[in-house]
Amino acid sequence: MNTKSYILILLSGLLLISCGEWLDVLPKSEVDEKEMFETANGYQSSLTGIYINMGSAELYGANLTLTLTEPLGQQYSINENEPEREKWKNFDYTTKDAENNLLKVWSKMYNNIVNCNLLISHLREEERHLFETGGKEILLGEALGLRAYMYFDLVRMFNESRGVDPDSKKVPYKTDFGLNIGTSFKTDEILDFLLNDLTEARELLQNTDPITGKSFRNKYLNYDRNQRMNYYAICGLMARIYLYRGDYRKAYDNACMVINSGKFRFIEENEIIETDLYGNELKSDRLFMPELLFGLYTENIPEISRIRYEGLSYDFILSTNCYTSGDLRLNAWHAGNQLGKINLIKYKRSSNTGNSDKYTAPLAPMLKLGEMYLIACEAVLNEPSINDDARNILNTFKQHRKTTEIPLNATTTEIIHEITHEYICEFRGEGQLFWYYKRTNKNAVDNGNYLGTTIPIDPKYYTFPLPQYEIDFGTSRNN
């Protein structure tokens, strides 16, 4: 009996030991949520993941810069072999292709927002000293900023324009990670949440962001701040949102903070393309790096651009009529090809990878200095109490673009017309033009030739339909 009990005890002991911790294994190619936030490195990787997701083809790597929104701005011709894309350009959002793409954007946006939520909540609860002083603030500021950036674009896409229906509340707002569906708030309510977050982020970054002068030992925190949601990017985004919200004073203030910061300047002509004696390109900066408040690193955008906008058979620029002959943007961003069509070469790089060092990093422009000037200008026009001159602001911008300035006696209507003109010229391949049309609630827009011919848009087309999936699985539980 002794032997028996001995073995029994041994065996059950073995099992008890095994059942507890032994079963708690984690995969090597994946990391458990709790494990992730044990180190500073984990926090940083999580934030990096959010940037990478933003740069995916579903979001700013293709859809939200080039393929989804750009055709809606009517500046491109579409290959006739793509009937669904042709329909999309004509605001038919019901094709299978369209439904798929919208679902992808919606799902990926929220997936990435949930990533932000998780990071933010962990950062807020983090009490250990995992970071250098200021490090945690930077991560939190960036995460808050990125989440606001994405929510704002969801609002622009899926809620009605404020001018059409200020009570539109199709975009669920969710700040947690879990099985709950976000609450539906009206556009302005969501914008207020975003602005609150951005205000907090601005405070967090004000004294810590290396772009404002501070330096960190940590390479990650110091690394190229123009590719991060930095302090000025927050200001720029606030300017954009305040303008959308109709708070012109604050829009102006934030735009000016960027303009007057001295951190950004307009590009000079000789910087764009450097050539050797034989005219071969040595170096090019078609993205106008010194102007970028925030450029999102993404290898997708040069690829998509190469296939769709620089290739032989896809989306061509209808015309370059909007540019005057000396405009820097004309030659830097456009090129004719042998078929007599106009390619958009803004994101162009050699297909021979050996030459890629000639180009600046592959970036998607998320916020630019030019937009700040246009915001400031529009704000001054709308808020007479601001002590500034709209013509001046616009002309400063135009001077640097080497394009015709507006006369000093230009009327407000003419200035507004010029702002529209500049939105057409300035945001080629960045997906912003359509949102300008939406914000200003235009009922007819330029047809791409800039000869005064317009095509009408019913305001309802400014709002994308919610994915069927969201309607089926979201609304029933939502109030």
Partner: protein, 1132 residues
């Protein structure tokens, strides 16, 4: 006890003598002399000489076993005038020898052996083994010492036992349920080999549950045991095809017969007693339904692929465990059933070589196809209006040109039979070699060793050219037995390579139009099939449709898909009897498996170059042509279990208990790449690629999964009449949700062997009658790591120099195994000495907390979420009946019939599934599909469609009936109602087996009756057809053509998609000849002169015919085949 009765002594002596002669002992025959006192004085003389002297003085015969008694040993002895006995005692005791005097003979032996004869208070160990009539060990047989109620023992897995007795004259009672009890008198033997005769012939003996074997007649669960030979008789190359014949509730599901006889198609869906989990759903699509039982080979789980590729000659037995009492010991893995395979152990005896050759011939079976020939296609197209003006008033001249071109082609004899193009009659061969034997015990210090080397190799070529699967395996198995310790070691290596047919899917051939030529006038195959190939170049054709020639790329390009699997394992088992009745058993397995799949798509494929010219030579395009996909995966599994078993037998009570634990760790790794940019069709190696495929990166995963289980089984039986069986298991796994780390499972089973009751004793009609019942839970854990945990996964792209991670899933920490409550009642009986045998079971299984993927609003951040939701039940019966009407010395005829009926019912579904129903309804409106819906109260196999009143003779349109009973021409998804159920009223197999001397003829038929089927051929190949493809002949002959036609199918001109309609739901009654076999074993006497000890030849024909009341195409992407197997087994 000192004095032995005379008769007994004589018998004892005779036995001793007999056994000594047998053992090759030496008998010393000496003269007899009168008995007197002895005087012995020797100094350093051999014992032999001393004994000679004793013989001389006493006149007694002396004998002893020369092997055991060392008579050459020199001794010194001084004995004066002592009686014989005393002298012998003084002489032999110091030598540790014992003696006995029987009549005039002195028997000398090693001390213990003969001690019994002295009648001292003794504790003699008797060892031996219990086998059945075929020499197979009988584990669990009870051995009792007659006259001493408290002494008993039970045989182990090898049939070996030991028991302590008081005298070598004792009697032992051997009993085993289902076998005639046997009383054996020891007669001085300490080792007895017992063969028990079955009470009734052909009764399955032992249930191998994987952890411990059980006698079938003490088993409270439901299991089907199939002997390896019987399995090979049905089909000696396809395990699953063979096994399904033996258990009607075991079903390999290939609903539409898509995969036919593809040798590389491994079953994904095997159901035992119905489907008990919901399918996974994502974005309103059903993912492939995978449900597989767990396969256990020699105690450890193996994958379905491994079973598929297993050399069937290695199989000793297969056991299907079907209910909770049988399977609860497998806990969380058991819900889909457990299939236990035992591999063949080495044979005992001298070196034996057995070689088996399996050859088979496969012939494509196209009988289910009823396609149009060239002329019919043209006529169909004409009537369907292909050549008419598409808008009224249009000049149809160009279309008529096309018509005329086709007409001319047909007149000149073009009628290409595309179906035969990719097919071949294939020959397959497989060789299997066993070298085995045993090394006997030499003395006390060494044990027995049995060894086996098995080698097997062979290739399977499919009926589609180029598709093949080749297996090679080699292994050794050693079995060492010493005293109370048994050690088994099984080392095995196998390699499987497979290749897909370059001819692609068979459906391309069924759709190719027969009026297209295959080759041009130069004998070169056309790349595309179109009228342009043959029409005058200046003729304008109205029909510009073309089809890709399905043959061209297979003939000219070097695209391929191959895969290779290497598997190695070592399985060590230790079985140790600590004290009588208490055993410790341990099994440890290490296995390593690697897989590699290569797929190459030629740069010259139509996928890259749409037409014949090569003008697109831009580097971008050039560098992205051709593709090579490589994926590797490997898995290292370490697992082990330890089991303690205890057996106690008192009077009529028998108690058996086991307790055990099991640990398993699985390390998985995988990676894959896609590269592109091949310059030339012939450069097929990966290294010729220019770059990674656009937007692709190397992908891979690495993870470790651990699981632990503790289990116990208690079995009590009273007089072999009443049995109670309790099982419990606690399972934990790293896959489970954090909040549900372990899940318990249990079962209770009872059994009453009625035929062992007193009142059944005096009759000859019923030999065995037993009822049993069981209840218990078993589980299913078909979920992956990130479904219970929220995991960050590292992203492929970087952000500048930094890598990032993103959360991949919303884990459900409460996720647990889905549980099935199984209830089973069974009755088994045997009438007329085994002439009639019936086993009948009724079961009721309730699955709760089904693991379901539910769809969630994407604004939650994810699109699906795994949860426990939804209940369903499976009710049914299965039975198996065997009748042996003829049994004589030369003849034996056996008839068998089995069948099952299962009813599946959805009790509760999740909101998500309800949503899914709405969504697929909408989908069915957009796309031409027949969808799966889930409704509470219905079966998972219910067919949903809109009721149809047939075709309106006036318009040729279909008239639908709405739920409200209104007639309409419009199809509306909301009007779909259950119109049938795919479950058969009865399905199973029947057959006969006829033995005449060495001949054996057998057959098995598969039948199914009363199942509803949705006939997709009618839906897709007669209506809703693509006019520019070939279709079923009935599309021409049976569709509505002009007003007044009473037709089954809608207007021939109607090209609108056909929606799911009750018109196509048909009742199926089906019969197929699954297997017909003949074998001949060469009688031993004829072989005597040769060194061959056994020769058996057999031929088996599989799938000879298939008759069904439904005419539907089978083998859509790979045709079915009729197979003729030949096998020859030679033993040397």
């Amino acid at each position: 006890m000192n004095k032995q009765p005379c008769i007994k002594s004589a018998r004892y002596l005779k036995t001793i003598l007999f056994s000594l002669i047998l053992c090759g002992c030496l008998l010393l025959n000496l003269e007899t002399q009168a008995q007197k006192n002895l005087t012995l004085r020797f100094r350093q003389q051999s014992l032999r000489e001393v004994l000679q002297e004793i013989k001389r003085q006493s006149g007694y015969k002396i004998f002893y076993n020369e092997e055991k008694v060392n008579t050459h040993k020199n001794i010194s002895v001084s004995i004066s005038d002592q009686p014989l006995k005393e002298a012998l005692r003084q002489l032999l005791t110091p030598l540790e020898l014992d003696f006995e005097i029987i009549n005039n003979t002195i028997v000398i032996s090693v001390a213990n052996d003969i001690a019994a004869a002295h009648g001292k208070p003794q504790n003699i160990k008797i060892t031996g083994s219990v086998n059945d009539e075929k020499g197979q060990p009988l584990p669990g047989a009870t051995i009792r010492l007659l006259g001493a109620q408290s002494v008993g023992s039970v045989s182990d897995e090898e049939g070996n036992f030991n028991i302590r007795v008081t005298s070598l004259q004792d009697e032992l009672l051997f009993s085993f349920i289902g076998y005639k009890s046997l009383t054996v008198k020891l007669n001085g033997k300490t080792n007895v080999q017992i063969k028990l005769e079955p009470e009734i012939l052909e009764m399955e003996t032992v249930i191998a549950s994987g952890y411990y074997p059980k006698a079938k007649n003490s088993f409270t669960g439901t299991a089907v045991v199939v002997n390896g030979d019987d399995l090979r008789n049905i089909n000696n190359t396809h395990f699953f095809d063979a096994l399904k014949v033996f258990d009607p509730s075991f079903k390999v599901i290939d609903e539409r017969g898509i995969y036919g006889s593809d040798p590389n198609r491994i079953p994904e869906r095997i159901e035992i007693r119905g489907q008990n989990s919901f399918p996974e759903i994502s974005e309103s699509n059903l993912k492939t339904v995978t449900s597989l039982p767990v396969f256990i080979l020699d105690g450890f789980e193996i994958s379905v692929e491994k079973v598929y590729d297993l050399d069937m000659n290695r199989i000793a037995s297969v056991t299907i465990l079907k209910d909770a009492s049988a399977a609860a010991i497998y806990g969380s893995r058991a819900a889909n059933g457990v299939i236990v395979i035992e591999s063949r152990n080495p044979e005992t005896g001298k070196l034996q070589i057995s070689y088996t050759f399996n050859g088979s011939l496969q012939i494509p079976d196209l009988s289910s196809y009823n396609l149009m020939n060239a002329e019919e296609v043209l006529e169909f197209q004409r009537q369907a209006g292909v050549f008419d003006a598409s808008v009224p008033g249009e000049d149809a001249g160009n279309k008529l040109n096309s018509y005329n071109v086709i007409r001319k082609e047909i007149m000149s004899g073009v009628n290409t039979y595309w179906l035969s193009k990719p097919l071949q009659v294939s020959f397959q061969h497989r060789h299997s070699l066993f070298i085995e034997g045993s090394v006997k015990k030499q003395n006390k210090e060494t044990g027995n060793l049995r060894y086996q080397i098995n080698l097997s190799g062979g290739g399977t070529k499919g009926v589609m050219k180029g598709s093949e699967r080749n297996q090679f395996s080699a292994g050794t198995k050693l079995l060492y037995q010493h005293k109370k310790l048994n050690i088994t070691n099984d080392l095995h290596f196998s390699r499987v390579t497979s290749q897909e047919s370059p001819y692609g899917s068979f459906s391309n051939y069924t759709q190719a139009l027969p009026y297209h030529r295959e080759k041009d006038e130069n004998g070169k195959y056309y790349r595309t099939l179109s009228l342009q190939n043959v029409a005058p170049s200046d003729m304008s054709l109205g029909i510009n449709d073309f089809q890709l020639s399905p043959v061209y790329e297979a003939k000219y390009l070097s695209s391929f898909t191959t895969s290779e699997n290497l598997d190695f394992y070592n399985n060590l088992g230790i079985n140790w009897e600590l004290i009588s009745g208490l055993r410790l058993k341990g099994n440890f397995k290490i296995s390593n498996e690697t897989n590699r799949t290569d797929a190459y798509l030629s740069p010259m494929s139509y996928y890259y170059i749409k037409d014949n010219d090569n003008t697109v030579n831009e580097p971008d395009v050039l560098f992205s042509r051709g593709q090579y996909n490589l994926s590797n995966s490997s898995g290292l599994v370490l697992s082990g279990n330890v089991i303690i078993s205890y057996t106690l037998s008192r009077n009529k009570h028998l108690f058996q208990g086991i307790i055990g634990g099991e640990l398993k760790q699985q390390d998985n790794r995988s990676d894959s790449y896609a590269v592109t940019g091949f310059m030339n069709d012939a450069l097929t190696h990966l290294s010729y690629a220019v770059q990674f495929k656009q937007y692709s990166r190397p992908a891979g995963t690495e993870n470790t999964i651990r699981s632990a289980g503790a289990f116990s089984n208690l079995n009590y039986s009273f007089d072999n009449r009443y049995l109670l069986d309790l099982t419990g298991r606690l399972d934990g796994s790293s896959l489970f949700g954090r909040n549900q780390p372990t899940t318990p499972f249990w079962s209770v089973g009872i059994r009453w062997n009625i035929s062992r009751e007193k009142f059944m004793e005096n009759q000859n009609f019923i030999q065995n009658l037993a009822v049993r019942a069981s209840i218990g839970t078993i589980g299913n854990q078909n979920f992956t790591l990130n479904q219970a945990m929220s995991l960050y996964s590292w992203l492929g792209p970087t952000y500048g120099p930094f890598s990032g991670a993103s959360i991949t899933s919303l884990g459900n920490p409460n996720l647990k195994c889905q549980e099935t409550l199984n209830r089973n009642i069974g009755i088994e009986f045997n009438l007329l000495k085994g002439s009639i045998n019936l086993d009948l079971n009724y079961y009721n299984n309730i699955t709760k907390g089904n693991l379901t993927d539910i769809s969630i609003a994407p604004s939650i951040g994810f699109e699906t979420y795994k949860t426990n939701m939804g209940d369903l039940t499976n009710n049914g019966i299965d039975f198996s009946l065997t009748i042996t009407p003829v049994r004589t010395k030369d003849w034996m005829l056996t008839l068998n019939l089995n069948g099952s009926h299962n009813t599946n019912k959805i009790k509760r579904i999740s909101e998500a599934l309800k949503k899914y129903n709405d969504m697929v309804g909408k989908k069915a409106e957009k796309e031409n599909v027949n969808v799966f819906l889930f409704e509470e109260g219905q079966s998972m196999n219910t067919i949903y469609a809109v009721r149809s009143l047939g075709i309106d003779p006036g318009t040729g349109k279909e008239i639908f009936l709405t739920k409200n009973g209104e007639q309409t021409f419009t199809w509306n998804p909301d009007e779909q109602i259950p119109v049938g159920c795919k479950e058969a009223d009865l399905e199973g197999y029947f057959g006969f087996n006829l033995k005449y001397r060495s001949w054996d003829l057998g057959s098995s038929f598969h039948y199914s009756t009363g199942a509803d089927k949705y006939n997709y051929t009618l839906h897709e190949k007669i209506e809703g057809v693509n006019n520019m493809k070939n279709n079923d002949r009935r599309a021409l002959t049976e569709r509505w053509k002009r007003p007044g036609d009473v037709a089954r199918y809608k207007s021939i001109k109607d090209t609108s998609p056909t929606r799911s309609t009750s018109r196509f739901v048909q009742k199926e009654h089906m019969l197929s000849l699954n297997s017909l076999r003949l074998s001949y074993t060469l009688p031993t006497e004829k072989l005597k002169q040769n060194f061959i000890s056994m020769l058996r030849l057999s031929a088996t024909m599989n799938d000879l015919f298939y008759i069904s009341t439904i005419r539907q195409e089978r083998g859509l992407s790979y045709p079915f085949a009729r197979t003729i197997h030949f096998a020859a087994q030679i033993n040397f």
